[in-house]
């Protein structure tokens, strides 16, 4: 199947763009990574990642249909077996997957109903937003910040300056974690009994999803909003079953189970244009009766300013509540408190960006830089690097074996 996908991608790349129907778009990309270190011997020094993405869109009257799919080949353990995984519930990425499959139709004046599989983006603060914390992410590449789409229904409408959106997640799409113990999810791998390996146990995320409601209003230079949600938290809680550890000649194999807690949350957000700045603040209160998760009070402050074709964004995020377990094991709270500074700039030849994330608890951090060169309207070359640094107690410093550079070539159509 992989060979077929590769052949299909090559054939598609050869098709002249104008011959493709206007409703189809997509890209083919090959990407290579080179690392400066390894967390375990099974981590590769270099890694290849190729992707073929195809999207079709069609509007029939007022009804919008969209479908997209992805074929990919990864040369590391992040690649899963070829299985039917329409809701991304398997621990590893299937080589073939459905990314979008939705229909949107008007149900009343200024009210739409969207059904199917689609991606949500609620958070207004780049870098970190508690409004997005209930959305599943794929951490197969933890530096890629990839959101997973959901099977859901969404009702959205606007009346005057007020916008409303209600979402029902039909099934839980869990966060996809990197290979435990590898460079992207380093865990303590030495003990008095020798080396520890972690074994992901078969798990079935709960079927039930979540419900969420969001209200937004734009009043002059102010944007205000509020949201509430309830249901299953898609980020898992990890249970290390040392009681079931199996001794092997090199040490121990510890099974790791996953559990999904229920959580309720409410949040508010406000932003204002002030001269040359856009200032934002978000606050969220998250409640869970699960003793390993507990409650959280998360706040973010951000300031954004344009400088010609460049944009500077500074975000400060923190959690006022202590977590009952190591926050690194709670994923969406692992980073907090943190300062995030991002600079993006568009050039005639392409674009570049630098993002600096500093964990304020342990003094660890991550420096990311990327330069994209548009060779033509359809071909783009990207060169970048990620440099985690600092204390290994922090969630970013722990990724020191994931220091890397990457080079990608993308052809869009």
């Amino acid at each position: 199947m992989t060979r077929r996908a590769a052949v299909a991608s090559i054939l598609l790349l050869l098709v002249p763009a104008p011959t493709l129907a206007q409703g189809f778009s997509g890209y083919g990309e090959v990407k290579g990574f080179a690392f400066t270190g390894r967390a375990v011997d099974s981590d590769p020094w270099v890694l290849g990642w190729s992707t073929l993405f195809v999207k079709g869109e069609k509007k029939v009257g007022d009804t919008q249909w969209t479908a997209s799919g992805r074929a990919e080949e990864i040369s590391s353990r992040e690649r899963g077996p070829l299985v039917l995984d329409p809701a991304d519930r398997e621990p590893r990425r299937s080589p073939l997957s459905v990314r979008e499959l939705w229909v949107r139709l008007p149900v009343a004046s200024s009210v739409d109903l969207q059904l199917g599989r689609f991606e949500l983006g609620w958070g207004k603060t780049d870098g970190y937003s508690p409004a997005d914390a209930f959305l599943p992410r794929d951490l197969s590449d933890p530096f890629a910040d990839e959101k997973l789409p959901l099977w859901a229904t969404r009702l959205s409408g606007q009346k005057g300056p007020l916008r409303a959106e209600a979402v029902a997640g039909l099934i839980t799409t869990p966060w996809r974690l990197p290979v435990l113990g590898g460079r992207y999810a380093p865990l303590k791998t030495e003990s008095t009994n020798g080396r520890i390996e972690y074994a992901d146990e078969e798990n079935t995320p709960p079927r039930a999803g979540f419900g969420a409601l969001r209200l937004l209003a734009t009043i002059g230079d102010w944007d205000v909003g509020g949201w509430g949600r309830f249901g299953v938290r898609p980020a898992p809680l990890l249970i290390f079953r040392t009681d079931l550890a199996t001794p092997v000649p090199s040490g121990l194999i510890v099974p790791v189970e996953r559990r999904y807690a229920r959580e309720q949350g409410i949040g508010v957000e406000v932003s204002r244009v002030t001269g040359s700045w856009v200032l934002r603040a978000e606050a969220a209160a998250l409640f869970s009766e699960d003793p390993d998760l507990g409650n959280a009070l998360i706040g973010t402050l951000s300031a954004e300013r344009g400088f010609g074709d460049g944009t500077l964004l500074v975000t400060l995020a923190g959690n006022a509540k202590d977590t009952p377990v190591d926050p690194a094991l709670l994923f969406d709270r692992a980073l907090l408190p943190a300062l995030i500074v991002a600079w993006n700039r568009t050039e005639e030849w392409g674009s570049w960006k630098v993002v600096w994330t500093e964990g304020l608890k342990y003094g660890d951090g991550l420096l990311k830089a990327e330069v994209g060169y548009n060779a033509t309207d359809l071909w783009r070359i990207t060169l970048g690097g990620e440099l985690p640094y600092g204390s290994e107690k922090g969630s970013l410093g722990a990724l020191h074996a994931a220091r890397r550079v990457h080079l990608a070539l993308r052809r869009s159509w």
Binding site: S109, E119, V273, W277
Partner: protein, 266 residues
């Protein structure tokens, strides 16, 4: 001069000043009248078109983009929506601009990759609009009421006599990225055919917008070719307007943030 009475110089000077000031006031009224008349003549309830953009940088490298553009209202009460349709890297990018009387327009950019809109702060309005030579302020409909205007004379442009009008933004009109605009208004049809744009603090025009290939579509004059030249960078962006339609009723919710955020929405 011997028969002149004492103080006659002062009187003459006063008269000269009066005439000068009076002339300026009249000229100001004339420019305003001309622009008001132009707005009345060319006002349409709505406009839709497909834009084919060609961006040529100083080295001659060419980039193509396409958008669909919708407008309701005109000048000071205009609402506009632009949705890019090509190339893939910008497909689906949307731009909403809502004029506000006496202020800079409210503007938002929707990025499909982010799944949400981004508000454009007024100081961001000199940034390049999606890789073109237009900036965000250029994407706003020109509203002469936000400018102090003065008729500076007449000039031939492509063999056609034009009024030359200087427009300087008024402070309470929403801070403009430009300190001055020189407008070329064709005398025979009172149609704006060129703008020389001076950024604040600059003595030379930094950009020039040319409007050409004038046609009468459905009783309305329209320039089917727009060209924005960045005189400093040496680049230019040409927009060819196709499938032009005027006065088609627009859906109530087209110019809303909800619609801007609708993927595939127009």
């Amino acid at each position: 001069m011997s028969g002149t009475f004492p103080g006659s110089r002062a009187v003459l000077a006063a008269a000269a000043i009066f005439l000068l000031l009076g002339g300026r006031v009249l000229a100001g009224e004339d420019a305003r009248t001309l622009l008001s008349e132009a707005e009345t003549r060319h006002r349409t309830r709505s406009q839709e078109y497909t834009g084919e953009l060609t961006v040529v940088n100083k080295d001659g490298k060419v980039r193509k983009k396409n958008w669909r553009s919708f407008r309701q209202g005109y000048a000071g009460d205009a609402k506009s929506l632009v949705r890019f349709t090509d190339p893939p890297e910008v497909k689906g990018v949307g731009f909403l601009s809502l004029a506000r009387p006496g202020k800079a327009a409210d503007q938002w950019l929707y990025l499909p990759s982010m799944k949400r809109e981004r508000r454009i702060a007024s100081q961001d309005r000199d940034a390049s609009f999606v890789g073109t030579d237009f900036n965000y302020e250029d994407m706003e409909e020109f509203d002469h009421k936000k400018f102090g205007v003065e008729l500076k004379g007449e000039q031939l442009l492509d063999g056609r006599p034009c009024y030359l009008i200087e427009a300087i933004p008024v402070e309470d009109g929403g801070k403009s990225v430009y300190g001055k605009k020189i407008l070329y208004l064709r005398k025979d049809i009172l149609f704006l055919v060129r703008e020389d744009l001076y950024r604040r603090g600059e003595k030379e025009a930094g950009k020039r917008l040319g409007l050409s290939d004038l046609r009468n579509v459905g009783g309305h004059w329209v320039a089917m070719r727009l060209e924005m030249t960045d005189l400093k960078k040496g680049s230019r962006t040409t927009v060819l307007l196709k499938e032009m339609v005027f006065d088609r009723p627009q859906p109530d919710d087209r110019f809303t943030l909800r619609n801007l955020n609708r993927e595939g929405g127009e």
